[in-house]
Symmetry: C2
Subunit: 273 residues, 2 copies
Amino acid sequence: MNQPIGVIDSGVGGLTVASELMRQLPKESIIYLGDTERCPYGPRPKEEVVQYTWEMVNFLLEKNIKMLVIACNTATAYTLHILREQLDIPVVGVIQPGARAAIANTRTYNIGVIGTEGTIASEAYPASLRHINAGITVHGLACPRFVPLVERGLISGEEAYQIVEESLEPLKQHKQMDTLILGCTHYPMIRELVQEVMGSTVAIISSGEETAREVSTILGFKKTFYTGDKAAEHQFYTTGDPIIFEQIASRWLEQKIEAVNKIQLTQVKSMEK
Amino acid sequence: MNQPIGVIDSGVGGLTVASELMRQLPKESIIYLGDTERCPYGPRPKEEVVQYTWEMVNFLLEKNIKMLVIACNTATAYTLHILREQLDIPVVGVIQPGARAAIANTRTYNIGVIGTEGTIASEAYPASLRHINAGITVHGLACPRFVPLVERGLISGEEAYQIVEESLEPLKQHKQMDTLILGCTHYPMIRELVQEVMGSTVAIISSGEETAREVSTILGFKKTFYTGDKAAEHQFYTTGDPIIFEQIASRWLEQKIEAVNKIQLTQVKSMEK
């Protein structure tokens, strides 16, 4: 099925998810839309996040996408169930895949989750984990210093290591914890630092990697893989500055990203499609 | 949704998949059916495997299962596409989940697969891997000595190590290979030996673990998780000797399995449901 997969995010963080989609599913074309202008979604009230998400969704539905990936933890927490109910195409969020991978991995049933303050406060990961297995102990920790670190490009070196070490200190007391979920799409960029600080006995689960894996599962289940011979074609849209977006996207995707389109989203009156 | 998940296999091997389902999805009830009397399916002609599989499926459909897991590589290779077409419930096989997990893990795009002679000769894993990513190099190796080893209970010690080492020798030349799929449901029992022989640079992917993970994905996608408070109740059926089945099941599932039912499957006239 030669239709693209749509990926939405409040900004650039979801590019780590797009990057994994491109790596794991090289035949599939991606349309990425980052609402950079109104980023971050975390501190916004739920109604606003739902409305902004619908605006992005409506834009991508016009592009005839065959599947929607909500590559944003906040938007997943607030809109996944609504979008699954109301769209005719499959919708995949970033929270459940990470939760499932952590459950598959853990042997101590002690799982850590790090994310933004909004994501941790929402309790979306504990809810998702306990929905599947009520016996799991979850250790949540907000790491507000990580997103600025990544956006400054400070993903290795002494200063970065120190910030990661200080931030993760509270998790170190949980000796039983054998699995840690990176519950923010920015964090895969500092995965190695997190691994170093936590030590080799803790498995690090990247939501982006796991989300791409589940997109593959659903494509297989719905028989909607692209099976033709055309090379994948990706498109990028942002509501913010396309030049800044191109710079970050080129660095994160490790390829030259050009012709990023700046768009304006239309305000939706109703939350229906 | 308080209906059980049906698991079918040609014999006891699929118990490793059932075990992972119970571990990852402790709220879900499982009905397991092993066609031990006619095991193994590997050397049988395709038509026969298709017919036997339909007989198992019809038995489980009467039990009102909400999902079907084909916990047998041979049956998956021959019947997954037919069953997906003809059943109204979701059907998950053991080949694609392992393939997807390997693709998510590999960084060298060199993946090894070990299995029975039938599974390796069927090229089902290379087909599944390349369906998703045409650029993957696959190294297949039949390990006919592994199933007898596991069924004898010889899963550790000097003799077992030696057999595993000798069998895997041909794979050692592929220095680029960073991921190895256990393409037989018996092999998770000797996972540690395989890991030891292959060394820590090769990640071992267990099809059973990954299949349970994908069952979780599909349950979430279809909103058919059991969300009530009742404890899970598992049932076991075999076409062979129930006492032998009980012994193996108790050992593999690490819990006392009793009241295994011996049944006779009804010959189906047509391959339609």
